[in-house]
Point group: C2
Chain length 225, copies 2
DNA sequence: TTAAAAACAGGTGTAAACCCCTATTTTTTA
DNA sequence: TAAAAAATAGGGGTTTACACCTGTTTTTAA
């Protein structure tokens, strides 16, 4: 029997080692290598003789994060399947991850058994949606009334500029700070912020920050404190 | 040789299983039990025939978090040593944890070797400070000019009410929302918020939220999104 | 190459946040 | 049982955030 060849990326060493310990006992799984962040993973993929079939990657990582890693892998290594590993996720975030190429989601509070099952299913069928993700996918496909199918998919997600503004908000910048930094009018910044509030359904900046962190849209590492 | 008896608490099952896998191989460590959150841990401690010498606990957990767990253990089980496990932490937070009774800190990106060393040192000496923590402790003892020694220790930390207000801010509540909820005047809430801003050196609520999450003062699980 | 989406930006107004100050009462702790 | 710390709450003010409009220009993709 051919072993499933995988690679791991997570910035928390203890967690990574834990996964290695758990998966190392699996006779049908072969861990080719593990990486401490996105850059490390991409470098190892580029220089590896033997490519993994599956990459299990954390979403929140310093430097190149899971989202960017997934995009890059899809471009450079289209045969590699990406399983996203995370603690929290919201519907629009998952749908976006799927649209950029992740084939499965694993919550960090999953059982080792579910993790192994997910890896096996991805190796076998190319993807795996658990119940929650399936629910989200279903909801996104059923149009609320007579609207276009794709609506929920994109409309809930963010533009580049919105992400930029969100990051600056998370860096404690005010509207005018952000306007200066981005060389645009404060009114435009307000527009982006309002769109963020609408899309995230947050009530205020506190909600935006929570959303951003929960969905790993910005990293805590680069901030103050 | 007597094995070191420990207990683990972490809400992320995969992480917990990983630790079990790592520590399970250690011949000088005996894991009595593990818990999925603070309440679970306390319950198991109360009903256990054999008490652990050391508890390794995550700080961010739903329900009873690591800070509260540490306080409770110190009261009810003063012989049990607490090792705090976390991803990020700031100087005032560590100093506060030490003052409430934690005997060591472990970053989640530590090596398994460091984790084992920390456990062994705590079992042997009763505490273990790594370089970073030592640095913080040192700084807190050296007065900036001629000020009182204890200053940095307490003045940077938070009162119960401040933590309550911080949590509600993180739940997207406004000043008047919080005032209603706590049956106090909005001005009092403002006072607490101002103290939080001073102590954290945050610029606005965005900063407060970041600080709260980074230092695991509030849990993401109970929130919206 | 033409719609659609994104980015831009203005008006007007209210609510909330934030800043400076003071001061009393309650709780904790040395 | 004092002294310290925490919790309470007020006056008076500026700045920022947020809501609900409107519209144009630029970029992206079918």
């Amino acid at each position: 029997m051919n072993k499933i060849k995988i690679a791991l990326a997570d910035d928390e060493l203890l967690f990574r080692q834990g996964l290695l310990a758990i998966l190392g006992n699996q006779e049908n799984i072969d861990i080719l290598f593990d990486a401490e962040d996105g850059d490390d993973l991409i470098n190892k993929l580029r220089s590896a003789d033997l490519q993994p079939e599956i990459v299990v990657t954390d979403l929140k990582m310093p430097g190149l994060n899971g989202v960017e890693v997934t995009k890059l892998i899809r471009k450079e290594f289209p045969n590699i399947k990406v399983i996203a590993l995370t603690s929290y996720f919201s519907k629009p975030f998952i749908l976006n991850m799927i649209s950029i190429g992740a084939v499965a989601y694993l919550a960090k509070n999953s059982t080792p058994a579910l993790m192994i099952k997910t890896i096996e299913q991805v190796a076998k069928k190319g993807f795996y949606y658990d119940e929650q993700v399936l629910q989200y996918v279903h909801e996104s496909l059923v149009s609320p009334k007579d609207k276009k199918t794709k609506c929920t998919f994109d409309a809930n997600y963010f533009t580049k500029r919105e992400i930029e503004v969100l990051e600056l908000i998370c860096n404690q910048m005010t509207t005018s700070d952000i306007a200066e930094k981005l060389f645009i009018s404060p009114r435009t910044v307000e527009g982006h912020r309002n769109n963020l509030l609408l899309k995230t359904e947050a009530k205020n900046v506190a909600g935006l920050v929570i959303y951003a962190l929960k969905n790993k849209l910005v990293s805590l590492d680069n901030n103050s404190f």
